[in-house]
């Protein structure tokens, strides 16, 4: 039973007998999950004095009709056993959703129409929705957290204009913030709603009715955090129907539709209604309902949500699939060794109520802040246990405790988990071996490797080859949603593993994407153009309609003669700057009417570290010996990375991974060359050592013999033979 409902029921059971017949909760509140008492009530009314009764009645009333809010209530089961979420649904206003009877007074069947359910009001009834909204999955647009290590960007992709622009609200170098390219928050939501979990940009604090983009949220509803995306257990959450709902801007209806609670019950989609919205005119109130599936509701209008605190990898995979094995080759993949060993993503990528999921890289602690929410939550706990704590004192204690707990974050990195972290507060975490992880021995591996390489360099991603491989990701390639088979050239083209140095100076495998967009160069700064603006030039070669079925992603390479007319058309407006095209790691521009291309800062690829799939030690780089990495053609140095993009690769210059890192080519090749002599070095060293050892033993024994012989000679009594000698 819903904890609050239980409390209400308890309160009601205590007081119903004296008030029975007089007490009527508002109809909308009757759906509270207390079960109607059937049969005779055996409990006797408790005799109470009047004053006490009044206080308790007020308390009971406040429990029954207290306004709903997105702040969680302090009712927790605190058990490892999952709580059965047999709860009433609530709409955006906090009203309990009550289905009309199946038949009306005349006996005609009635549709189960009601408002879409709101996660903020339904889940937020008991869970700290606001605090959750500050977690990594939702906080990017809020700008209230440190950006952390560069991660996977959202890539605005348009096949027709050959656009692929890495976007992020976090301000990672190499990405654009949506506003920088003229993309409103609403546009961003619509571009990526398919994989956005809600919150952040989807839930602005204020909606300006005069802003034509934001005002649409008055009709479409805010994109609340859809808790079931991750926490649903059955695997019946339908991402496809949610995505389709999002595409037609049925935003607030999408969680109900995705969860399979019902279908959209209107004739017009929210997009159509929002299109007719005019600034200054009132927002229509008769918005479509959800046609609920009655089978999902019990007689008390409660719904069972099969949810878990520990989402399964399949839930994570919807947004975090990353695969180099494409199409029919997917069966070749062993997937991550940790999953194979029975762990799930959340064993390492953990979080507290703040949903600041541990990302798992070393040094993450410095990228995490102790938020006011976390402090407040801890203060409440401290003061609950010790009421004598003053607010300030409790706050200091809370901050100190939370700082100590940050050490736990370090224990969930590869090194922290397998080897322990001295920063952790708990002794067990200091010792390592969490989750029965084996302590790596790394026999024969000189220590310098641990200073120069991340764990992932040898253990994560596909085994490095001569060329970086194409990889598809959920966020970039809409994996998880049905679409025509994606191929090697399906934009955006992302490659992995590219061995680059991270901010900590260690070499780690990365994914890499080259930006591709038309834009303006002014005062040395590049501003990308949105695809619709480029399309207006009508100079781009249109894909023949009969070719769409064969090549649905329009992957035919763009030729230089096709680039020139677009740049010429864009150049008509000189006020915005010089028209340019960024693609394949180069900047294309017109110089004296001729198309030229060259390197430019804006054309540099964006890279982010990868950490999965982790390979077992027997498949790590170096498992075959030093030559895995120290041969002259070892992929970590000599592996080639070819800029990928929409332009035909005739004049594209590929670079080695060593060059991309800025390593000295001569140093690398010389170092690799020295490995030819390494066996000789071993023989010489061991041989020399053996000689020195032999000499030491020989003379040591001689010395010992001299000492012991001398003593023996002194002890031996003189004899005739001795005298003669």
């Amino acid at each position: 039973m819903h904890p609050q409902a239980a409390l209400r029921k308890q309160a009601r059971e205590w007081f119903c007998p004296p008030f029975s017949g007089r007490f009527h909760a508002p109809k909308s509140r009757q759906g509270c999950s207390h079960s109607p008492v059937s049969g005779p009530i055996s409990r006797q009314p408790v005799p109470l004095d009047l004053g006490c009764s009044v206080v308790i009645v007020v308390l009971a009333w406040s429990l029954l009709i207290c306004p709903t809010g997105a702040q969680g209530e302090n009712l927790k089961t605190e058990s490892r056993a999952p709580y059965l979420h047999h709860i009433p649904l609530r709409d955006a206003e906090g009203q309990i959703i009550t289905l009309p009877p199946a038949f009306d007074d005349q006996g005609k069947p009635q549709e189960a129409r009601a408002n879409p359910y709101s996660t903020a009001q339904t889940c937020g009834r008991c869970h700290e929705y606001e605090a959750i909204g500050r977690g990594w999955h939702f906080n990017a647009a809020k700008g209230n957290s440190k950006p952390g290590r560069p991660g996977e960007p959202w890539i605005l992709t348009d096949a027709a204009t050959h656009t692929q622009i890495p976007l992020s609200y976090r301000g990672w170098a190499g990405t654009f913030k949506p506003a920088d390219i003229g993309l409103s928050d609403f546009d961003f939501l619509m571009a990526f709603a398919r994989h956005l979990p809600g919150g952040g940009a989807g839930e602005p604090e204020k909606i300006d009715p005069k802003d034509p983009k934001t005002a649409r949220l008055l009709v479409t509803g805010k994109m609340e955090i859809d808790c079931l995306l991750c926490h649903e257990v059955t695997g019946h959450y339908n991402h496809e129907t949610r995505s389709k709902a999002m595409n037609v801007q049925n935003i607030k209806w999408a969680p109900s539709i995705g969860a399979g609670l019902g279908t959209f019950g209107g004739f017009k989609n929210a997009k159509v209604i929002a299109d007719s919205l005019r600034p200054g005119r009132p927002v229509p109130t008769n918005l479509p309902a959800i046609k609920y599936d009655r089978a999902k509701f019990d007689a008390d209008n409660n719904v069972v949500f099969e949810v878990t605190r520990r989402p399964s990898p399949n839930n994570c995979y919807y947004c975090h699939t990353s695969d180099s094995r494409m199409g029919d080759a997917r069966w070749h993949s062993d997937r991550d060794i940790h999953l194979r060993a029975g762990l799930s993503c959340i064993e390492c990528h953990r979080n507290g109520v703040d949903h600041m999921v541990v990302r798992g890289y070393e040094g993450e602690t410095k990228d995490r802040a102790i938020t006011a929410d976390m402090v407040e939550l801890r203060v409440n706990l401290l003061r609950r246990d010790n009421p004598a704590f003053r607010e300030e004192e409790a706050k200091k204690r809370a901050e100190s405790q939370l700082r100590e707990e940050l050490g736990m974050v370090e224990t969930l990195s590869c090194r922290g988990c397998h080897m322990g972290s001295p920063r952790a507060k708990e002794t067990t975490a200091q010792l390592g071996g969490r989750l029965a992880s084996p302590r790596p021995v790394h026999k024969g591996m000189p220590l310098i490797h641990f200073e120069k390489l991340s764990c992932t360099a040898c253990h994560a991603g596909p085994f490095p080859g001569e060329q970086a491989q194409i990889v598809h990701t959920s966020m970039a390639h809409k994996l998880g949603l049905p679409g025509p088979t994606r191929g090697e050239n399906t934009p955006p083209v992302i490659v992995q593993p590219v061995f680059l140095r991270g901010e900590d100076g260690r070499i780690a495998p990365h994914k890499m994407v080259w930006p591709s967009y038309w834009g303006w160069l002014k005062d040395g700064k590049v501003k990308p153009l949105l695809p619709e603006e480029v399309a207006k030039t009508e100079k781009l070669p249109a894909q023949p309609s009969d070719d769409v079925a064969r090549d649905p992603y329009n992957t035919k390479p763009l030729t230089e003669p096709e680039i020139q007319p677009v740049l010429e058309a864009l150049s008509a407006d000189k006020s915005r700057g010089e028209a340019i095209f960024i693609a394949n790691g180069s900047m294309y521009r017109l110089e004296g009417g001729k198309l030229t291309s060259g390197e430019h800062e804006a054309a540099k690829p964006y890279a982010w570290a990868l950490a999965h799939d982790v390979r077992p030690a027997s498949q790590a780089a170096g498992a075959r010996g030093c030559a895995d990495c120290h041969a002259s053609d070892a992929p970590i140095y000599a592996g080639r990375v070819t800029p990928r993009g929409p332009v035909g690769a005739s004049n594209v210059v590929s670079k080695t991974m060593g060059e991309l890192r800025g390593d000295s080519k001569r140093l690398v090749s010389t170092f690799a060359f020295t490995f030819i002599f390494r066996p000789m070095l071993k023989y010489i060293s061991f041989g020399s050592g053996l000689i020195v050892f032999g000499v030491l033993v020989n003379y040591g024994l001689l010395g010992l013999g001299a000492i012991t012989g001398g003593k023996r000679a002194k002890r031996t009594p003189p004899t005739r033979e001795n005298d003669l000698t």
Binding site: G444, T674, I684, S688
Partner: protein, 156 residues
């Protein structure tokens, strides 16, 4: 019976032996040259707080190692007899002799602690112990060689 240097014939032989043969000199020179490069790259890097070595410095260090190793082995073969404590005809002081044995002992530790990590015998903790052993035995070795050199020069 243990031969003594009081014997006149033995004294002549000893005087002959006291002269360091060119081979021994060459061995010592090789050890010295190799050791100087190793000390310059290794101890200086450590002293400057830039340990561990990498890149060109590491390659220079590793390149000089065989010369030092072979030099050390040759020194062991050619100098050991003169460094016997019972050998009074070598013209070397007890301290010089002791320093040579220290050089050989430390040299052996330095050699083995450098080359053993290249074999799949030790894990990370073993590697760390070997690395530290290599570092500190090298410092002792450098000091011993330096003092040995001074002593040799003084007795000449």
């Amino acid at each position: 019976m243990i031969p003594t240097d009081n014997d006149p014939q033995n004294s002549m032989e000893s005087a002959e032996a006291a002269r360091i043969c060119p081979g021994a000199k060459l061995a010592y020179a090789a050890m010295l040259v190799g050791g100087t490069v190793l000390a310059a790259t290794g101890i200086l890097t450590f002293g400057l707080g830039k340990a561990p070595m990498s890149g060109w410095v590491l390659m220079a260090h590793v390149s000089a190692a065989p010369l030092f190793a072979m030099g050390l082995a040759m020194v062991a073969l050619t100098w050991a007899d003169q460094a016997r404590f019972g050998n009074t005809s070598s013209g070397q002081s007890v301290l010089t002799k002791a320093l040579l044995w220290l050089i050989l002992g430390c040299g052996l530790v330095v050699l083995l602690s450098a080359v053993t990590p290249m074999t799949p015998l030790f894990g990370a903790s073993g590697q760390k112990a070997l690395y530290l052993t290599h570092r500190y035995s090298s410092i002792v070795l450098t000091g011993a060689v330096f003092l040995h050199l001074i002593n040799l020069a003084r007795h000449r």
